[in-house]
């Protein structure tokens, strides 16, 4: 396989409000490759969105990237560590939008209501490319056409509130692509949309990915969307990547009890009507009260007393792509240590 565009190792993003410390992302590692999609999946509080915001260096205070490396191979071949760069530097601003485009869940709150969508797309183009206003406008119309906005020449002068949710999300994607980034981060891009609109947007992301050889990070809580879109998957729980592997491995040979339980508990259109679902006992702990040891142990049916509640499980590589953090998958020697 080609070299990764972005290589994240042991990323740590902590929030330190007055009340204590929240380890929102606590040692996440993954690689992004051109033309491939990494799915990051997990429930609320697992750190999937903070991971995205950490890569872009837009973590809100009192949060901070406190450790790890995020090596980005830039278009000109230089390698930059996003973890140590100043988040307000001009280089980071070039990377944000220029190398890494991003789409968030709420298209209404991400778009300005004071400027037309055309203004916003043109601004994004001119921020990263030296072109005239006229050229930028033509380019903006092309982009709006690319993302499937009908009558783009007219719609370019609309305001975001005049558009439906699906069209707004298309505008967001056009904005993200304005400076021809090589990485697209999409954080729950279809969660606020209806299912037929979701299908359109996912199809669009796939089409653009093929055309532009984009590396895509797709962040979602929806296992269906992951199964549909991802090549590799990282499953997160309370700030930790508990399991990662190819999409087929994660769905058909998962090894972490959390991944297994999550897959059993999702309702499916393929299920028998009115069938009971398997459940995971308890609920997700409060961020200030994260359990010691393996974060999943209080809800895990196979937890080993004296081990899982004491030490964090080490990462075990099961094959080239498949990695899991669980004592059940360790060599016995590692457990006693």
């Amino acid at each position: 396989m080609a070299e990764p565009i972005l290589s994240v190792r042991d990323l740590k993003t902590y929030f330190r409000p007055d009340e204590g410390i929240v380890r929102a992302v606590d040692g996440a590692s993954f690689d992004l490759y051109p033309g491939r999609t990494l799915g990051i999946v997990g429930e609320s509080g697992c750190g999937k969105s903070v991971t995205a915001r950490s890569i872009l260096r837009i973590v809100d205070r009192p949060g901070k990237v406190e450790g790890g490396t995020m090596l980005l191979r830039r278009g000109d071949g230089r390698v930059v560590d996003l973890a140590s760069i100043d988040e307000a530097s001009s280089e980071m601003r070039d990377i944000r939008g220029g190398e890494i485009g991003y789409v968030f869940q709420e298209p209404m709150s991400s778009l300005s209501v004071f400027y037309t969508i055309g203004n916003q797309v043109i601004e994004a183009i001119r921020r990263h490319r030296k072109v005239s206003t006229k050229e930028a406008r033509d380019r903006a119309i092309e982009l709006l056409q690319l993302v499937g906005i009908p009558r783009a020449e007219q719609r370019i002068d609309s305001y975001s509130f005049e558009l439906s949710g699906g069209l707004r999300q298309r505008v967001m994607i056009a904005l993200a692509l304005a400076a021809e980034p090589r990485i697209l981060i999409a954080d729950e891009p279809t969660t606020a949309l209806d299912v037929t609109t979701q299908a359109q947007i996912l199809e669009l992301i796939r089409k653009i990915q093929v055309e532009r050889d984009l590396a895509v990070v797709l962040i979602t809580h929806d296992m269906g969307v992951i199964a549909e879109m991802a090549d590799t998957v990282s499953v997160m729980y309370l700030g930790k990547v508990v399991e990662s592997g190819s999409v087929d491995t994660i769905f058909h040979a998962p090894r972490h009890p959390y991944t297994q339980a999550l897959l059993r508990s999702i309702p499916s259109v393929l299920a028998e009507p009115r069938s009971r679902l398997a459940t995971i006992v308890g609920s997700i702990p409060h961020p200030y009260a994260r359990p010691p040891g393996c974060p999943f142990h209080p809800r895990c049916q196979d937890a080993i007393p004296g081990t899982c509640d004491k030490n964090p499980p080490p990462a075990t590589a099961l094959d080239a792509e498949h990695e899991v953090r669980c004592f059940l998958c360790c060599e016995p020697a590692e457990i006693s240590a």
């Binding site: 429930e43 609320s44 439906s164 949710g165 699906g166 069209l167 209806d194 299912v195 037929t196 609109t197 979701q198 299908a199 359109q200 996912l202 199809e203 809580h221 929806d222 296992m223 269906g224 969307v225 992951i226 199964a227 549909e228 991802a230 999409v247 087929d248 769905f251 058909h252 339980a261 999550l262 897959l263 508990s265 999702i266 309702p267 499916s268 259109v269 393929l270 299920a271 028998e272 009507p273 009115r274 069938s275 009971r276 679902l277 398997a278 459940t279 995971i280 609920s283 997700i284």
Partner: protein
């Protein structure tokens, strides 16, 4: 399971909103949010209303609870003493006794519980308002209800902020059950919850139905959830029911092209079954400018000339169920299978 006693019978329900403009507030248009829909719910049955935003599913449920007054149609509710009352025409004061028998579970467990009230006060409020029992009797009932939704009785004196989303939804369910209702309207009750918690609430709703013989009108957009809770499903598109079927038949052999497209758009949690989707062009029609004929015709890949002219009626089809499509008898549509 279901028996033949009909708890709710909705006939020709319409809810139109007028669009007014200018200083004289002249009526310049009408939004037909719900346009002539009919269905029945039996004792112990779950009927789901599904459809995309703007299809009128929530407006329908609000008309039934009489949170809003319907424009036309009848909403016949079979009371516990076996009288049929048309809720659609009742005055506010007349509605009061009926409200005890129809309760609601809300979508957002965070905003639907008063943060200043204890759990005992929240769950006991319907009892207090309706003058049921004295303080001690009410507390006994609250304890019973907490058992029913599988929360420890010790939680009674705590406040909502101490609870997770799933626990709050259980509290909301306990409150809805306080007065022994016959019908529960649940509008997207699990869509705000995390997957692992969602499964617990779905199971709880199924269990309560079996134990208490409740009828549910379940409003949802998520077809996977709907498959786990429903006996029958009504698919709505721009204010009308386009298909009403037993759950298994609807998923296996949909009869309306819109249902087929909806089913094919649902992502299946199995990468080996990446389906060839039917991606619908365009967007859901604007309910203030409904297309002529069948409202779905501009997006329908099977549409013929007749679909542009004539509104298809909801008619019974061979087997069970009803569908509103001119070509229902000639089309063979694809559904989704059921895992063994």
């Amino acid at each position: 399971m279901t028996n033949e006693r009909i708890v709710l019978s909705v006939e020709g329900l319409r809810k139109h909103f007028e669009i007014r403009k200018g200083i004289f507030r002249r009526v310049v248009g009408t939004v037909k949010a719900v346009d002539d829909i009919s269905f029945k719910i039996s004792h112990g049955e779950t009927l789901s209303l599904v459809g995309e935003s703007g299809c009128g599913k929530t407006t329908t449920s609000r008309c039934i609870l009489r949170a809003i007054r319907p424009t036309a149609g009848a909403i016949k509710f079979n009371t516990s003493d076996n009288h049929n009352v048309d809720v659609a025409g009742l005055k506010r004061s007349e509605l009061r006794p009926l409200r005890r028998q129809m309760q609601m579970i809300f979508q957002d467990p965070y905003s639907s519980l008063n943060p200043r009230m204890t759990i005992a006060e929240i769950i006991g409020e319907p009892l207090l308002v309706n003058g049921v029992g004295d303080l001690a009797a009410r507390r006994r009932r609250v304890a019973e209800l907490l058992d029913l939704v599988q929360l420890p009785q010790a939680y009674m004196n705590r406040f909502p902020h101490a609870f997770s989303g799933g626990q709050r939804q259980r509290i909301g369910i306990a409150r809805a059950l306080a007065l022994n209702p016959a019908l529960i309207v649940a509008d997207e009750p699990v869509s705000a919850l995390d997957v692992s918690v969602q499964a617990q609430i779905i199971n709880l709703l199924l269990e309560l139905q079996d134990r208490l013989g409740l009828s549910y009108l379940f409003v949802a957009h998520d077809l996977s959830v709907v498959k786990h809770v429903s006996h029958r499903v009504a698919v709505m598109y721009v204010g009308r029911i386009v298909e009403l079927m037993p759950t298994d038949a609807l998923f296996r052999t949909p009869r309306h092209p819109y249902t087929e497209a909806l089913l094919s758009a649902v992502p299946v949690p199995d990468p080996r079954k990446r389906a060839k989707r039917i991606v619908l062009a365009g967007e859901v029609a604007d309910p203030s400018r409904v297309p002529s004929g069948c409202a779905f015709h501009p997006r329908c890949r099977y549409a013929v000339e007749r679909c542009k002219q004539e509104i298809p009626e909801l008619r019974p089809v061979a087997g069970e169920g009803m569908v509103a499509c001119h070509r229902a008898n000639e089309l063979a549509l694809a559904g989704v299978g059921t895992d063994g």
